[in-house]
Structure formats: C-alpha cells, structure tokens
Amino acid sequence: MCKQDQMDKKLVSKTVPPGGDPDRTNGITRRIFLRRSLAAGAVAGAAASGLFPFIQTIDVAYGAEPFRFAWISDTHLYPRTLNTRFVEKAERAVNDVKAMKPAPDFMIFGGDLAQLGDPVELQLGADILKGIRVKKYYIPGEHDWYLDMGAAWEKLFGKPNWTFDHKGVRFIGLDTISRGPDYWSVKKMSPQERMGHMATLDGSVAGPWAGVGKDQLDWLGRTLSDWPKDKPVILFSHNPLYEYYPPWNFWIRDWQEVQEALKPYSNVTNIHGHTHQVLYNEIGRMRSIGMLATSWTWPYAPTGVPKLTTPLVRVDPGDHFDGVGWGNLAVTAAGKVNYEYMMWRKDVFATTKVDSGTGDNDNQILHPRIADLP
C-alpha cells in the first residue's frame, strides 16, 4: 500500500464514524472495490485500452426507440453582480442544448445550480434554464440546499427524487445530498455558516453528508419492483453511487446498500455530477458516467480514480471555458447509450502522461486541511 493510500485510509476512518448507523459505515476498502469493479468490467475493454472515442458507447439492451437527452449540471451560480463567468458558461450550455438538432426529448439538471443556496442564485439559474423549451428534470446538489434546507429549491423545482418511464427506459432521479449529518445545531451555526461548510469540498466539518438514506432506498426498491430485471434503468444522481474519494464526498456513504438494491437489474446506468471531471466506472453490472461541470474542473482525487477512467486532459486555468461543458446523451434503437462530453475544446481525453489530469501527479502526496478542525 503506498503512502497516499495509507493516509487516505486513515482519513476515511476519521470521515466515516464507525458502527451505529448502517448508512454511515464503510467496511470495504477502495482497493477491494477496485478489484471487484475490474473483475466485473469485462465489457469495458475499450475503456481499459486507453483509447476512448470522443463518443463513448455502452450497451443498454431493449432501448425500444431511439432518443436523445441533454445533461447540464454544476453551474454553481453566484449572483450575476459577483461573477459573470459562471453565468456566461451556463448560458453557453443552454444555447448549445437549444441548438441541438433534433431537439432532445428532455434535459436533466444534475445539481449545484447555485453556489451558496441563495434564492437569488437559484432564481438566476431557473431563469437561464427557461431558454430550454423541452421538458426539464432537476435533482439537487449540496450547494443548492444547506442555506434553507431545500426550501427555495423545492419551491422552484419540486420533489428532489422522482421517476418516469420514457421509450422503454425507466429513469430515476435520486436525492443524494439532503440527508447529511446535523453538524450545525450543537455549534449554533447560522444558515450561512452551515452553507459555507457544505460548500467547502475539502472541509471536514460537514462530514460524510452524501447518501441516499434508508427511506429513499425503500422508495428505490418500490420504484424498481414492477420493472423487468433485464430492461434498462438510468439513474441520475448528484454524487457518484460508489466509493471514489470520501474525504471530498466523491461517493455516497451507503453505496453498498444501493448496489445491493440494484443487483437484480442487468442494465443499469448511473449518470452523475459533483466531481466536475471525466469519469467512468463499473460496479457489478452498473455503469457509472461522471459528467462535466459548466463552472470549473475539480482535480482528480489523490487516490481512488477508477481504473476504467481515461482521464481528462490537463486544462488551461487561464481559459475559463476550458475543461467545462455539458453532456449529450442518446439511447439508440440498437440498444446503446452514447454519451458525449460537450467540452468547449477539441481534445477531451489525455493521450500522454504529461497532459493527463492523473498521470501528471505521480510525485504528489496530499494532506487534509487543518484550519477548520475544532
């Protein structure tokens, strides 16, 4: 085990309280998880070869009728008076989706519309997205929620989890953000302080906030109970539904329970936001696709990057349109899902180590921050 792995393991054990709530336990190491995903990853030959096509194709059997949908997420809007760059990029993604020919059947917004959950930010996002005329579905991100615990978001967008069937596919939107542990009451935090900690990706105060929760897990089971086991299911979530890097909540803490619930279904695809980077993984029979943000890219975590991921090319921090974008997804009649990273540059994937978002970090060892510790 390398030094970074050992440190991260220690950190995970600090992040995840032992015992008690089964939602918050995590008995499996990242290494076991990677082996398991690799063993199950027989269909990922193209991914493992390192030669990703710009459009990635994965099997989803029984797609009855071809259709297309669009994904936008992680706009992280501040009020327009503070930051116009994020507004420009969200508007660019919206204009791109509007220009799709043929038009997509629907659009999914994958969370983190706002940066600090401010109703002004959420309303700005809703106004920008109004330009898209097709049916829109929304799931929340943590940045949308923890100022008023979802009040403004729910008023604008309704329930945070939902399901619908479309042309032979069951779509499910999950809420992976609203069931965080209460870190604010004892410390008598203001709503702004609560939001501030939640908005700090590498902070430790908000703890392992990402999860589906027992109640929603039961709902997921009920939602799937009448669906044939071999028909396609596409799950949308803000967080990835596996353990990538818990210190940044690049996971859900109850991912094992979710995987267990999905086990009987042979064609499950999860599409998620939050990680702001190109990601691909397979857990059991579930494929997982991480989508781009429109706002900025996160670096790859120091450990846990799925072996099946071909990393994003290193982007130019001087160009705020670099490394960001939206997603164009199609379910074909032949039973395939095509997904395309609509990044505003020619090269999406790294082809050499020096230009790779992960290959560049061989010498890097990282340590968590300390200034927010009690």
Binding site: L82, P299, N361, N363, Q364, L366, H367, R369, A371, D372
Partner: protein
Amino acid sequence: MKKKTLLSLAAPAASLGLIAFIVFGATPGMAHKAKHTPEQLKAFEEVFMEQVKIGDLLFHGDAATEKKMGTKLSRTGMACAMCHPFASDNHPYEFPKFQEQINKFSTLRDMINWCIEKPNEGEKLDPDSDAMKALEAYIYWANRGSKLDPGRH
C-alpha cells in the same frame, strides 16, 4: 465558520523572539549553538503551524483572515481551494520551472500571484508579504512528503 484565534501580525515576530531566548538563553555571547531542546522544537513548529493555518484560511477564502491580512485574493467568489482541494494540482515541488501561463522561468510565488490576478481577478501580493509566506507555508505543508522534482512541467 468557526476559527481558531489568529495571532496578530506581530505574533510571529514575538514567537521568534521567544525562540531566540530559548536558543541563546541569557548568555548571548555563547560561542556555540546549544543542542536543541524539546521546548525549542515545539516553538519552531508552532511558528510554522500558525502560518500554515493562516495560509489555509486565506487559501479557502476566509473573509475575516483576508480582512486581517489586508488582502483581496479574489473578486469572482472563487477561492484557491475551489480548484485546488487539499492544495492538489499546486505542484509546489516542481518549482522553480518554466511556467507556460506566465511564459517565463517562475517561482511558486510567481504562480500564486498569477492565479490571484488572472482566474481570481484579485490583487497580487508583494512576494515577500506575510500573506504570501502564509500561502506558501500552507501549500508546502499540504504537499509534504511529495517528491521534489524542480523544473518538471
């Protein structure tokens, strides 16, 4: 956001004074440096870690620390940590090197200032300022144990 009480700007100087006392004691004319005591090492570390904490808070956009230090590191709402969680992808161990964004041979301090001025649209720091040293302390500390590889792109 809960914060530890920060030492004032004068505190590092006061701490250094304390260290000088511990090292040289009451006999400044001593010819040879005395062996290090545990108290002395603790004092050295405290001086360093205080700077790391200040740097950590600046790096994470803490408004109170910015005010105290008199800095304006961003005008976009972006803080350093929003692109560099755990100070990742800062690569402090690669400097000095040719930095293509700046188009010249650069130090980590040059790159910190580039990030403040360009992506963050803030006000660049005096390279020898307390704020710059604190940021540098945090970035190096968060990357401790990384392999030195100066000049690597």
